[in-house]
Subunit: 338 residues, 4 copies
Amino acid sequence: MKAAVLGASGYGGGETVRLLDAHPAFEVSFLGAHSKAGQMLGEVHPQLANSDRVLAPNGDIPDDIGIAFLALPHGASVHVARELVAKEIMVVDMGSDYRMDTDERYQFAYGEPHAYPDELSDWTYGLAEWVDVSGTNKVAVPGCYPTATTSALIPLAAAGLIDPSTIVVNSLTGVSGAGRKVAEPFMFGSVADGVSAYALGAHRHRPEIEMGLKLFANVEASVTFTPHLVPMQRGILSTCTAVAGEGVTTEQVQAALHAAYDDKPFVRVTDGPPQSRWAVGSNAVIISGLVDYHTGTVIVQGAIDNLLKGTAGQAVQLANTMVGLDETAGLPMSGLMP
Amino acid sequence: MKAAVLGASGYGGGETVRLLDAHPAFEVSFLGAHSKAGQMLGEVHPQLANSDRVLAPNGDIPDDIGIAFLALPHGASVHVARELVAKEIMVVDMGSDYRMDTDERYQFAYGEPHAYPDELSDWTYGLAEWVDVSGTNKVAVPGCYPTATTSALIPLAAAGLIDPSTIVVNSLTGVSGAGRKVAEPFMFGSVADGVSAYALGAHRHRPEIEMGLKLFANVEASVTFTPHLVPMQRGILSTCTAVAGEGVTTEQVQAALHAAYDDKPFVRVTDGPPQSRWAVGSNAVIISGLVDYHTGTVIVQGAIDNLLKGTAGQAVQLANTMVGLDETAGLPMSGLMP
Amino acid sequence: MKAAVLGASGYGGGETVRLLDAHPAFEVSFLGAHSKAGQMLGEVHPQLANSDRVLAPNGDIPDDIGIAFLALPHGASVHVARELVAKEIMVVDMGSDYRMDTDERYQFAYGEPHAYPDELSDWTYGLAEWVDVSGTNKVAVPGCYPTATTSALIPLAAAGLIDPSTIVVNSLTGVSGAGRKVAEPFMFGSVADGVSAYALGAHRHRPEIEMGLKLFANVEASVTFTPHLVPMQRGILSTCTAVAGEGVTTEQVQAALHAAYDDKPFVRVTDGPPQSRWAVGSNAVIISGLVDYHTGTVIVQGAIDNLLKGTAGQAVQLANTMVGLDETAGLPMSGLMP
Amino acid sequence: MKAAVLGASGYGGGETVRLLDAHPAFEVSFLGAHSKAGQMLGEVHPQLANSDRVLAPNGDIPDDIGIAFLALPHGASVHVARELVAKEIMVVDMGSDYRMDTDERYQFAYGEPHAYPDELSDWTYGLAEWVDVSGTNKVAVPGCYPTATTSALIPLAAAGLIDPSTIVVNSLTGVSGAGRKVAEPFMFGSVADGVSAYALGAHRHRPEIEMGLKLFANVEASVTFTPHLVPMQRGILSTCTAVAGEGVTTEQVQAALHAAYDDKPFVRVTDGPPQSRWAVGSNAVIISGLVDYHTGTVIVQGAIDNLLKGTAGQAVQLANTMVGLDETAGLPMSGLMP
């Protein structure tokens, strides 16, 4: 099937190209970009093979494409995604334009009404282990923080093991999570050897996390979310804390995680706390949880590669299911260490 | 005044030597070590000047010493600290042997009774901005995590702005926090480019944090504490979350911090969230807080250099006050960036 | 074909397992280890899928294996490699025991005679772009530094564009190049944020580089070789300098590189200097060269991933050819950025 | 003495402020900036104490200043430095405008004639261990690479132990060496975990290195210079190779280094190769050399902190001597590890 990648010059777009180049069923036949249109692929992604391919303007996407992967900044997918669907091209939107289920939640996260509020419910929010996208033609890929966080919390919230009104999430992300924007906060001199939190009490992924817990665990959650920037290229580790249900044990917590995930090829439940690098380079989610009996809280963690399971990997996983392939087709099962 | 550093071969000991070498009033006249006794200082700390000084066995400390800085592993200070005091040598213990106020708390943290439980109350727990050590002769330097964490929480707990039974602390530390132990978890290959939490629900600094809140804010706190190892050499950032008191505002939170610290030379209260590197290389604590009105929580953060304000710097600050000097004598006021 | 990996617990062994797990023709049916035999794969390589496989003692390798990959420390392959060959198992030795062509050179590098000096010439030194191993059954994989260095130098030496008696090589390696040895020089605290050279004038790879230039460019070279340890996980960049032949131009240098490599799938010749990360995560070699007309020297650089093209990737590339597959089978063509 | 820092918003300017704030004799009474004039010091250097000082336009420097430190980009000192001298203000220029001894050499490095070629010889090129600047009023601080490199080479070239026409220098620098420019090549995503060389055969510091060898060793040198960017904040390691003189031994090399430097407070000659971090945080130069008898070459290395001995530290060292203070006044003697 012919595939297009729009926004191929960014980090998420580059990873999508890399995955699709090695994929048994998709063939990359169009590479789109905005300001970098006209440049060779090798100029913007010197790590990619066949570096003499040329980036075209995003708008030049031809009609014979079967599936389009949109790796565009916030606000840039909202019109083009609809147009592609109208042309009967399947759309996997890695951006944030169609993730929210209601305009109210969209406004809460993004501060303004959606351009097509009535169409939000037509899109599937593709947290791949919790929704079946086979046969659908338009899917919104969850954000990176929400993927790591809700994957860890959903089984516990659904089983009533935690009080969803007391959730505190502290997430640590590699610098690639900020995208490829050239700005002083992301310079080596600003970032290396130090850590800081940002967007305290105000990150756009907080409402998305609460939505995920509503959609897949059917709870009304209150989430205090503090993301931190850490001096590493890739990886997210979400440490989630919540008041434990009465008498809840570590064994129950781990059992609920195993029950949810033992048949899922990309999710691994570990006994001890995961390291983010165990997941980096693969499409894995690694999860572990326990009860802190001293304080009566549950601590549960999720680790992913923000550019793979958090973006391009989950996009390909979803596309696989959309077109009827095995969900693991073409995706790395093992991470890269050291 | 003649000063001795015991445990001079470790990270904290090395920093103590560096600070004292540049100090206007203390003169390093004895360098002690355990397994590395007999080696030249330059073999174990090639960054230090006058590298041809030789490390002596810790036990060879002469009697003409005025003040001893103990940078020893847990359990190694318990006897020697008493013996030095008996010889009328002032003691600044950077280790954990005399930090706890009661044997009950000591047992809770360290799993066994203290050798001299009746003497615990003779030692001053030296969180330098909250206790006056002038005229005392034996001081226990607080741990690195407790210093960053309680410095941020005490003013808010004391003012009733947070519910102390709901505190969640997520701390991020540089690798030097683990000390100089040669072990696979601290290899470059194990640590660089990734993050992980450790000692979930079980870290020894949790009871110490609760003790600090009792001593200086007079509250009974419950603290869920999750430390994380981050790929940087130095620095701690503690992100503390707690349920806000009814109607509490960000302005009240910041005002309480300013009221506590505006006259303290090493503490800076900032409007936005601090970066750990703003403190690294100096004896500073940098603190900021706000209310997340959506969830009704307070988020307050503290950043320090774990080897300076978290160990050797606070030790020298305390020693300055113990002997009647200005507390800033010989200590770096500015951090090192980039 | 059934494959065995001996020394699967090390860095090179782990990467071999990762590559073979995703390979279309080889099936990993035996995982051997020495001191870590008996442990689960997930304990030593938590990043690998199917982590519940168990490491067996290296010596338990069964007879039905078709090909064995040896990722053993220096000296540990010398007997077992022969025994496997005697059992008609193909051997790809990633270690250093059978790399040298003569016992004289072996002694020069390793300081003692080889156990089976007469058999050295039976092994093929597998610098994959310069020798055809199809149909052979015992191949020694070149070292990581020699692969990066001789790949860059051979075309220029063979064409007479440089004076081989004046070669100066400065190589920069990631810390994984030191293997998985737990020792103070490879701790995060020792390595991060700094650089140093080691084994000045005495590294074992220097004679191997000179041998490669003899074997494939037919020149007697003199190489001053200085390796440097750099705070990154993976990657080698070799910067090679030599006196240029009379009147030699940058165009001639680049033309010789293109002529040698334009038909090689894993080698890319770039106009400007390569970054090591362009190659990391793939089996690529990236090379560029120019003339410094001011000093009359040629500067040529080669970049690789030390664990892939420098170890496990080249091993699989050679194995592919040995058994008649396309040399690229199962190998990553693109690197991983950021 | 009242001191001004022009260009205080950059990395070198910030370090100058930090050093002068802790200096016993200089008082920072003016902070100048160009595009960041009007901002608070704490906005551009959050690590510095007294962060509420305001940056003024560089041109507003008052007349009562005794000494001015110029931390300006190339080309920005050329006029202002003369004007300050005319006002009888002492000038320490950390920029590159007055480093060259002749207009010919200036043109060779910078590609255009100097604005005041006749005045170049009025400035002292302040390689502090090799020239006495006491009593002078205008000094150009050497570049960072030249400081690390010529410090290592001068004693050997002066003693005839190396052939100066065969020098190959490979330098490794931390990212702060590129200054505070916001550009994609210096983003964390571009730099971390990888290495690359730049400006091959064309770096402006090459002629300056050759000039240093002429000025202080009286040799006509030919230097092939390849700088590399390494993922660390600070530090330079220069590895210099040259053909050894007939019969030259390691003992002679080390003896020449010791003879040159044993009475210099900031230079340390070590037996083994230095790590860059041994110097980082201090004004030290660490040097070591040996003969590679196999190839008949000398390898000599120099390590410094590029922002201290390579910029701000050497500037203060020179200023100390200019005004008659001990050259070590206010300067850190020990580095910062880990």
